[in-house]
């Protein structure tokens, strides 16, 4: 068979591919959007660029960020995890109830820290169990992920509701607020955690065999099955990771708000994480953690930015929802034209 010379467009792609998992075309677009919006709001409202405003954003966005990472890995397998928020709340509720009920009165700070540590382990355990249930339904029984996680979301919320009787858990010791509210070397700890977890997700997805299998499964479950990949086991592990990340989010929220409730976030929070993954161009088999990171930042500055600019106007806190939707559509349209031009090359 005679060989044809490799077209230059493909050559360009393969060198780009070496950075696969870290950066792609969408990253540049999102970065551009981020910088534009940052400058825009900075001009519109001086207070936006203040240290206080930026750090406060740095405390809020990690929760959404880690939750989105939890959503992202399941989307890469071609599935979805609608129960991320419910898992997060359940983990927080269980850990919260443990702290509130188990710590003896007037315990020494050292003992309190010990209990907090136990509570964290407990929360992660809850995440593990939730993940196992999800993974079992999706991987082993074969229920469509959207239905399975919808059912588990109801189940987990139900457990939280039952355990708390509908009330919010409060009365936490001060030690608990450290993770969510204190900085480390000037950077909010939650933000550091978010960055670390983003890097961890990248490593898992692009630097391990497991991650490779996950992405292969995402692109074509049938082919991956016949390639010797144990689909069931991979899916189980993916949902376990997803739910553990959700549990971490729960801990972050609990630490920041010093409370735990069954209904924190509601359904729309989950849809927000899906919106971010869509913005980040995450699809089955392909996904880029940097996109998630930037997209979360964009949503956060849109939210805070419009809140500041529209301060005083009735209903200003709702404009951000409208703006997110518009942003998404604009990005879609831009992508459409970019794709069109690439195809012409």
């Amino acid at each position: 068979m005679e060989t044809k010379p490799v077209p230059s467009s493909i050559q360009k792609k393969s060198s780009f591919l070496k950075l696969g998992g870290i950066i792609d075309g969408q990253s540049l677009l999102l970065l551009g959007v981020f910088i534009t919006l940052f400058i825009f709001f900075g001009i519109m409202e001086n207070k936006f660029l203040s240290v206080r405003s930026i750090t406060s954003m740095g405390y809020q966005l990690p929760e959404l960020g880690v939750l989105t990472l939890a959503m992202m890995i399941t989307i890469i397998t071609g599935g979805i995890n609608l129960s991320v928020n419910a898992t997060s709340n359940l983990a927080a509720v269980v850990a919260g109830l443990f702290i509130v009920r188990m710590i003896p009165e007037g315990a020494a700070p050292g003992l309190v820290w010990f209990f907090v540590f136990l509570a964290i382990v407990l929360a992660l355990l809850v995440g593990l169990i939730c993940g196992i249930l999800n993974g079992f339904l999706v991987g082993y029984i074969g229920v469509p992920p959207i239905l399975a996680t919808l059912a588990t979301l109801t189940l987990f919320t139900g457990i939280s509701t039952g355990l708390t009787g509908g009330a919010t858990v409060t009365g936490f010791p001060d030690q608990l607020s450290v993770i969510g509210n204190k900085p480390f070397l000037g950077i909010p700890i939650p933000f550091i955690i978010f960055v670390l977890l983003t890097i961890l997700t990248y490593v898992i997805l692009y630097r391990t065999t497991f991650g490779f299998k996950t992405r292969m499964l995402g692109t074509n479950p049938i082919a991956s099955n016949f390639s010797g990949i144990n689909n069931k086991s991979v899916l189980m592990k993916v949902y376990i990771i997803s739910c553990i990340f959700s549990a971490i989010t729960g801990l972050l929220t609990m630490s920041r708000t010093m409370s735990a409730a069954y209904e924190y976030g509601t359904t729309t929070y989950v849809l927000l994480t899906i919106l971010i993954t869509v913005l980040g161009n995450i699809t089955a088999g392909f996904g880029n953690v940097l996109n998630i990171f930037i997209a979360v930042l964009i949503l956060q500055i849109l939210s805070t930015g419009f809140h500041m600019v529209l301060l005083g106007i009735r209903g200003s806190s709702f404009f951000k929802d409208f703006s997110w939707g518009v942003l998404l559509i604009l990005i879609f349209i831009i992508n459409y034209f970019v794709r069109g031009r690439k195809a012409q090359e």
Binding site: G142, I146, A151, G325
Partner: protein
Amino acid sequence: MLTKIIRSNEFIVFLILVFLCLAIGLVNPAFFSISTIFDVLRASIVYFIMALGLLPIIIYGGIDISFVAIAALTSYATHMFLISRGYQGGILLYYIIACGLGLLLGLFNAVLVTRFKLPVFDVSLAAFTMWYGFTLFFVGATANFDLPKGTVGYYANFLVTGVDPLMGETGLHISIIYVVIMGLFIWWLLKYTTIGRGVFAIGGNREVAVRSGFNITFITLVIFAIMGVYSAVAGVTQAFLSRYFNPVIFIGQPLDVLAAIILGGAAITGGRGTVIGTLLGVLVIQLINRALILTGIPVEWQKLVVGIILILFISIPAIRDLRARRIGHTTELIQED
């Protein structure tokens, strides 16, 4: 013929429904009464309508969540617009304006999907966020109880009434007629028109549908227009049934409606689905939600029970598929999830 019915997904849902009724009735015989039937039906009306509007899109192979936002925006905006003009007439104008708006909003999604080749779900996600945000920011963020004089009493407009020994006078609301008409329309559309055939074709295998000559763009526009109109009707009807207009109506519900449709036998990847199945699915979800109160389970644990029931019910068809695949009984040439 009988085996075909028994083997179908719809029959399983029907059995689930019967089982649920018996189980609840066993715990609390008060369940078996006219008022319960009328109550459940009344609560289900708007969900029937929304599910029917969503069904063609599911069969088409898409997933949409923006229908709830369309319901909210059309109903709330129509209402705020009319009362700001001092409108005191009846319900008809509401429906006309809302449906017109719903049509446009549905087409909005469809245009984005066809013109820019975007996935249905992604567009619906954007639309969901946009329209709720739009309603809350540009129209209003508070529930509104000022109903025009011509609409007062509509909520109690019953088709049939009955007397229940425990509850007294109850009735089946007249809007159940909408469900019947709208359901028949969808059934007719799916079964007897080329558009309906096209929807199934696109859902089954899009490439083949294109090559078979179906006008994908036109079909997409039609089914989204239908979804928009149906959502608008649902929004307005719900507002009149509950006697107030809510800008965030149904915001937590899109997934429930979706679950009902899939429970009723539609495939999430498209290509399959029936009106009967959808209606049964809605009934199952509604029954679970509403009738739990009658069983005496404490309120805070009800959601847990709903979750367990849901997990069981979604596992049944999945396990059935699993066993069928093991034996080799697949009706599909390719394995679908």
